[in-house]
């Protein structure tokens, strides 16, 4: 259980003020190998999950999209194609190393996507500004998920959509195999490819500590979103939640 001052960092309990620092260390460490590791760990599936998220978003030309914890910019790149020249995509991340990778990729792709370092719990945007806000594989690293969700809801226009793509609770019959993969193979792959077993141990632990599908759905409703629905992807390894601001 967390208290006012303490929170989770994987399976460890740390002071709230410490978590952001520790998460930052993890992502500073993996930033350069982040894409490679994502591809290896998910057998490339993370790309299809992200494409699916974009196809469910209902975003069209001229829309304004906020990509939170966008890291290397996979989603910003896909959204930039959807919104066209009259739309706007803003890539944000709290971690400068990750954001640097994303910003460079946007520039290399010739996309006009501003990259902004900011905390999702204190978004520097006016109320009711975006048509769609998305956070992919980022919410579980946030210290106060409820505050972050409330902020995302605040910056959405009425009728706007919040999409949360995140690891979730896997289908029970696969749980043992998934545990073996997460706690044995994942740190080993991290050690071999990114020379950082600890960060990938944290990844596996943080996934287990993250709320399951129904809990996250309720958290989104509590944050003021309505008609919240979710898709289980890869038997619940990942879930895509979508909610509306009404």
């Amino acid at each position: 259980m967390t208290t006012e001052q303490n929170t989770h960092f994987g399976y460890k309990t740390v002071a709230e003020a410490e978590k952001a620092k520790k998460v930052a260390e993890v992502f500073h460490s993996v930033a350069s190998k982040y894409d490679l590791m994502n591809d290896v760990m998910s057998a490339g599936l993370h790309r299809s999950w992200k494409r699916f998220a974009v196809s469910i978003s209902g975003v069209s030309a001229g829309d304004k999209v906020l990509d939170i914890a966008g890291g290397s910019g996979d989603l910003s790149k896909l959204f930039a194609k959807e919104v066209g020249n009259n739309g706007q995509v803003i890539l944000t991340d709290i971690n400068a190393s990750m954001l640097g990778v994303g910003r460079d990729r946007m520039l290399d792709a010739g996309l006009n996507v501003p990259a902004l370092q900011c905390d999702a719990e204190k978004l520097p945007f006016p109320d009711q500004y975006f048509d769609c806000v998305i956070v992919a594989f980022g919410l579980r690293n946030m210290t106060h998920k409820d505050r972050a969700l409330a902020e995302m809801q605040r910056v959405l226009k009425v009728g706007g959509r919040l999409l949360v793509l995140e690891f979730s609770k896997v289908w029970q019959p696969l749980a043992k195999a998934y545990d073996a993969y997460s706690f044995k193979l994942l740190p080993l792959m991290g050690k071999l490819l990114a020379k950082d077993a600890e960060s990938y141990q944290y990844l596996a632990e943080s996934i287990r500590m993250h709320p399951d599908q129904e809990t996250l759905k309720q958290m989104m409703i509590d944050a003021g979103l309505s008609k919240v629905d979710y898709y289980n992807l890869a038997a619940g390894v990942v879930a895509l939640h979508k909610g509306y601001k009404t």
Partner: protein, 206 residues
């Protein structure tokens, strides 16, 4: 995976039929459950007027139920079959979605042209259309031939006028039976009244 692939196919079809976006856009965020006996799925209308398979906890705003026999009639373009589609919930939404599906066309030549080029795609399309027409015509000829055989040569199927005649005869018989029943009731009442008036005379004789 089913939802991802189905959503991709649906959105591809909608992109080929861009007129559908305008029809669907006013219903953004709403969902419809399709009950097709073998396939039960919910579709959600997106904000850009496209479609997607709904999520795992979706509550549909409308339901469309089509039985397998009705589906076959709809595929055969039987206009009367459209009236038998069962719609529940938001009927306006369901009707608009049904309208979109009935007018939607898959531009397979366009898809094929991306793989093999324009000219071969057109030729293959022509070949496909010709094959479909031949199968359709052969099917109609075969049906007509069999129905004629079973009506004339070896009567197993009743002709329409014979059925109508039989129905008329049944109606006449029913009316006759009702008249006879009323007449019998009347006779029974008269008989009972007569029996009552005779009984006191019998007592006097004793």
């Amino acid at each position: 995976m089913f939802k991802q692939i189905s959503t991709q196919l649906l959105q591809h079809l909608i992109a080929q039929n861009s007129w559908a976006n305008e029809l669907l856009q006013p219903f953004a965020g709403k969902s419809v459950q399709l009950n097709l006996t073998l396939l039960n799925t919910s579709l959600v209308i997106l904000e850009n007027g496209s479609l997607a398979i709904a999520g795992d906890t979706n509550v549909p705003d409308a339901t469309i139920t089509i039985t397998p026999s009705l589906l076959l009639r709809l595929i055969a373009k039987d206009e009367a079959a459209k009236l038998q589609i069962k719609i529940e919930g938001d009927t306006h939404l369901a009707t608009e979605l049904a309208k979109v599906f009935s007018n939607m066309r898959w531009d397979y030549e366009d898809d094929l042209s991306k793989l093999v080029g324009d000219v071969p795609a057109y030729k293959l399309g022509e070949l496909g259309r010709h094959a479909v027409n031949t199968v359709k015509e052969t099917g109609i000829n075969l049906t007509e031939m069999l129905s004629e055989y079973w009506q004339e040569e070896k009567p197993m199927i009743a002709k329409k006028r014979h059925v109508a005649q039989f129905n008329a005869e049944v109606d006449t018989l029913r009316a006759d039976v009702e008249r006879l029943e009323k007449r019998l009731n009347k006779l029974a009442k008269t008989n009972a009244a007569e029996t009552d008036s005779i009984q006191p005379v019998k007592k006097n004789v004793q």
